[in-house]
């Protein structure tokens, strides 16, 4: 299946391992990723905090690019980009006046025809393919699947591909990769999202609570599907430790990396070396990856 690909700024910057790992597993999942031509920033929370119209117009430009390219649906691996693109599509579809404004602002004839999918939705659709490609099942790996805020809510925007209060798609993907999802309580709590830079204290408080809960539930690693969640939970562990809020080392894996490992892909190819918290505890497990391959 060919699907439009909107990497978003983070996947080209802070979280390029997400991009790398997704591209690494895509062929095996039968996904042909067609990057949206000359895509631009979705505006993230800054745009819609400043101007509603801007918050819709920036993502709409990308949808328009995809539309011009003949792309029917687009996947945005970053949860924030996904939320912005999906919200823009949803709002334009429900509001003819807004649609008119957007067409004027973009100065092109935009039909709002491109469907927006989250990475979870796409991976859920590829479950059979994942199952058949797993060669190194992540046996005995206990994972805490972390959804954060924007992957499954609000349903009006997501279209309800998963339950907003009791989701299951990430667990299903991890199970297909042979891992064991733990039952824990903070998988829908916010990691601090956009305040990462401007208010580290909040991010430390929220992130530490998440890490502790996952640890208490016996998780060996937390699985995420969002670059922001990743940096708040991975990069910030050091700051948490400095502030005495957290004293462990919890590897944070992208869902795409989990699937890649189970397919026997090289840890380096999956960008696991780019993480701040070492992932050896996961990658050096005897079952999944042959020894010596860890970079």
């Amino acid at each position: 299946m060919s699907i439009g690909y909107f990497p978003g700024c983070s996947l080209h910057g802070l979280s390029r391992e997400y991009d790398e790992s997704l591209k690494a597993i895509a062929p095996a999942l039968g996904l042909e990723l067609v990057e949206v031509n000359d895509w631009s920033c979705c505006g993230a929370s800054s745009a819609h905090s400043s101007s509603h119209l801007l918050g819709v117009a920036l993502p709409a430009r990308n949808l328009a690019q995809a539309e011009d390219q003949g792309i029917a649906e687009v996947v945005a691996p970053c949860a924030a980009c996904y939320a912005r693109l999906a919200a823009a599509r949803h709002e334009i579809a429900g509001d003819a006046t807004l649609a008119g404004h957007i067409n004027k602002v973009l100065a092109r004839d935009f039909r709002n025809s491109v469907k927006v999918r989250s990475i979870l939705e796409v991976m859920k659709g590829a479950l059979p393919a994942i199952g058949s490609k797993v060669t190194h099942p992540l046996k005995d790996l206990k994972v805490a699947c972390y959804y954060g805020c924007l992957l499954v809510r609000p349903v009006e925007v997501t279209g309800g591909y998963d339950d907003p209060e009791d989701p299951s798609s990430m667990e299903a993907v991890c199970k297909a990769a042979g891992a064991t999802p733990v039952k824990w309580n903070r998988r829908l709590d916010c990691c601090g999202g956009g305040l990462s830079m401007s208010r580290t204290g909040s991010v430390v408080r929220l992130g530490a609570a998440i890490l502790k809960d996952a640890k208490a539930a016996g998780a060996d690693a937390i699985v995420v599907a969002c670059p922001m969640c990743h940096s708040n939970l991975d990069f910030r562990q050091k700051a948490m430790a400095q502030r005495g809020a957290w004293d462990g080392e919890m590897p944070i894996l992208f869902l795409t990396q989990v699937v890649g490992l189970a397919m026997g892909l090289d840890a380096k190819a999956l960008g696991l070396g780019r993480h701040f918290v070492r992932t050896d505890s996961v990658t050096t497990r005897p079952a999944p990856v042959a020894a010596g391959e860890v970079g």
């Binding site: 505006g43 602002v105 956009g194 580290t200 408080r205 993480h275």
Partner: protein, 190 residues
């Protein structure tokens, strides 16, 4: 009757709730102050104006008091409040609308650090079409943000190949600038 009007035109004489309704299509007066939004808000322990307070101040037409409301600027836009509100009030969207109304106001405390961040962010997008993270960090600091607390870690970020040093410009920059201008014109025309 029928579909809600979506309009960016509002007169100052309009009650705030009506203004918000024009902007969001949702009636803030539906809020019955149950507090479920604030109960789940991850920032509720750090703010004094929680989502239900915001809804209350909107209903009471207290735009001035909202100017200083920390909750507006510390909101993580995590949508927890919105997805659990029994009445479909969408406090998160209401706060977006309020930030938009208040963007023009510079007086008051209103959390310059966060506004500075948003400004820097949008400047990056406007100038390059994409986020240039190094540039963001620099301009954010210059723009009034507190010293990047973890500046010591920046080299390690670079070492992991995570930050690009040179900005990457989008080809359709013209269009991006047009979007910004058109949006600004719309706001001004309001």
């Amino acid at each position: 009757m029928g579909s809600h009007e979506h309009s960016h035109e509002h007169s100052a004489a309009q009650p705030l709730a009506t203004r918000i309704q024009h902007m969001t299509g949702l009636n803030p007066l539906k809020c019955y102050q149950c507090g479920k939004c604030s109960a789940g808000c991850p920032m509720a322990t750090e703010t004094t104006t929680r989502p239900h307070d915001v809804m209350r101040l909107v209903a009471r037409d207290q735009l001035d008091r909202l100017t200083d409301a920390d909750g507006l600027w510390l909101c993580l836009t995590c949508e927890t409040c919105t997805s659990r509100c029994p009445n479909g009030c969408d406090p998160a969207r209401t706060m977006d609308a309020l930030r938009e109304i208040l963007a023009a106001r510079t007086n008051g405390k209103n959390h310059n650090a966060i506004r500075a961040f948003h400004r820097s962010f949008l400047t990056q997008v406007r100038n390059h079409g994409r986020l240039f993270e190094m540039g963001l960090i620099m301009s954010y600091k210059l723009g009034g943000g507190p010293m990047f607390a973890d500046v010591t870690t920046t080299p390690s970020v670079l070492a992991r190949g995570k930050l690009g040093l040179a900005p990457h410009n989008v080809k359709g920059l013209e269009e991006i600038r047009r979007i910004f201008e058109a949006c600004a014109a719309q706001e001004d025309g309001a």
